[in-house]
């Protein structure tokens, strides 16, 4: 990276960009605007994120969403903010929707049929609602008879669940599966003990 002075100014520019756009801005776009390569830009963004988070005088921070960045308020400002700001309308996600959403999140890209197979029930309504809430979207078509729609999660999903990227989702791993199994065994054991 260039000299300190230079970087400071560039970070100022990035701040201005993220502030102005409001919405998430792709790394590529930011890099282009400040006329630096993406790697350097990313480093600066992460430096800024750390700086914002560490600084108590800052009420805003930056979040990373896949390969985009967006400015937002810090979580602890929430109580104060709802006194002045209109709270964006949030949709209440029922358990059914959450269940369906978790399947889409972990198995994406996924067809409605696959979702239904896992849940054991028709899922049109749930999928449609998630699409309506902009948490799930069509990401393509499966190369199979009828070319069924493949669903995936949206950037709004990442934002809403405070997830930076899909990899960051709480993982389902083999251990977990075994844990479930162990749990079940314990329960069975318990039953015998009783």
């Amino acid at each position: 990276m260039g000299n300190e002075m230079e970087i400071e100014k560039l970070e100022g520019l990035i701040e201005a960009i993220l502030f102005t756009m409001g919405d998430s801005v792709e790394l590529e776009k930011i890099a282009l605007a400040i006329a630096h390569d993406e790697e350097t830009t990313k480093k600066m963004l992460h430096h800024m994120m750390d700086r914002y988070n560490a600084d108590e005088t800052r009420g805003i921070s930056i979040i990373e969403l896949e390969n985009s960045y967006q400015m937002c308020t810090k979580k602890d400002a929430y109580e104060c903010l709802i006194r002045v700001a209109k709270q964006p309308r949030r949709f209440v996600l029922t358990d059914v929707l959450l269940e369906t959403l978790s399947i889409v999140a972990y198995k994406q890209p996924v067809t409605k049929l696959e979702i239904e197979k896992i849940r054991g029930v028709k899922s049109d309504h749930a999928v449609n609602k998630l699409v309506e809430y902009e948490l799930v979207e069509e990401v393509g078509r499966m190369d199979a008879p009828g070319r069924p729609i493949l669903f995936g999660t949206t950037e709004e999903f990442l934002r809403r669940f405070g997830v930076q990227s899909l990899e960051e989702l709480p993982s389902i791993n083999q251990e977990q599966i075994e844990e479930f199994a162990a749990e079940a065994e314990d329960e069975a054991q318990m039953k015998l003990d009783i």
Binding site: F19, T20, M21, G22, D23, I63, Q70, M71, C72, T73, K74, K75, A77, Y78, L81, A85, Q87, P88, R90, L93, D95, V96, L98, E99, L101, S102, I103, A105, Y106, I118, R119, G120, V121, K122, R159, R160, F161, G162, V163, P170, I172, Q176, I177, F180, A181, A184, E185, E187, A188, M190, K191
Partner: protein, 248 residues
């Protein structure tokens, strides 16, 4: 048993099964099929007033359970490796998977609460940025345009305008209506076709004295093509149009 009240809670047959397994504190890998199936059927019976769509999903699972129950009574099947196959294996797999996603849904629910506490803002472009108009790059815009090219274009435009005026007839000062009827022209084309057998459309048009004749000739050809007297071929776009007489 007061089951019906609780029925609404279950999202589907898997949900119900998981509930039964939990309630009975059963090992998911060793489901006492007979007992569970009986309990499951009890729920189903209490559900009779449910709508058919929902019902059918529960009934499908009931059928699966009964199928497994039957297989459990029969001698165990052995797979290629000589291991005994558990008829419950597939169901267990499905239940485990479902249970996992249910668990992940709870995880997501927690995260949602977190995400909700962040507020964003809409775009606020400064007026100067909004109103900014990219300067026209004359080099790109004009490219290799030269003055003589522009002149050629202009002359072309003027010539085209000129073409719109029939220079000969506009000098007459009065337009005499020429009488060329379609039947007359069709007779003419038919004779022409008989003597030439095959000819190009252009060739035929060259014989025409005026615009009106050209137009009526064109209409005549169209009509005769429709009635099958002429056959028309054109190999490629803007290529020569070949007319063949179909009259023996």
């Amino acid at each position: 048993m007061g089951i019906s009240v609780k029925l609404q809670v279950f999202e589907g047959p898997l949900d119900l099964l998981l509930h039964l397994i939990d309630k009975n504190k059963i090992d998911i890998y060793d489901i006492p099929i007979v007992e569970i199936t009986n309990q499951y059927m009890e729920y189903i019976r209490a559900m009779e007033k449910e709508d058919l769509n929902v019902m059918s999903e529960f009934l499908l699972m009931a059928a699966t359970l009964l199928d497994i129950k039957c297989k459990m009574l029969l001698p165990k099947e052995v797979n290629e490796e000589g291991e005994e196959e558990d008829p419950r294996a597939e169901l267990v797999e499905q239940l485990l998977q479902y249970k996992m996603y249910k668990y992940m849904a709870y995880e997501l629910k927690d995260r949602q609460l977190d995400g909700e506490r962040m507020l964003f803002k809409s775009a606020t472009l400064p007026k100067e940025v909004l109103e900014y108009c990219e300067p026209v790059d004359m080099d790109v815009l004009l490219g290799d345009l030269t003055l003589s090219k522009l002149n050629a274009i202009f002359e072309d435009v003027m010539r085209r305008q000129e073409d719109k005026v029939d220079r000969v007839r506009s000098k007459f000062g009065r337009i005499e209506k020429e009488e060329v009827t379609l039947p007359e022209k069709m007779d003419y084309v038919e004779q022409y076709a008989e003597s030439h057998k095959q000819f190009s459309f252009r060739q035929l048009l060259q014989e025409q004295k005026s615009k009106l004749h050209v137009i009526v000739t064109f209409l005549a050809v169209l009509e005769m093509m429709k009635t099958g007297i002429l056959q028309i071929e054109q190999e490629d776009t803007f290529g020569e149009i070949l007319i063949t007489s179909m009259v023996a």
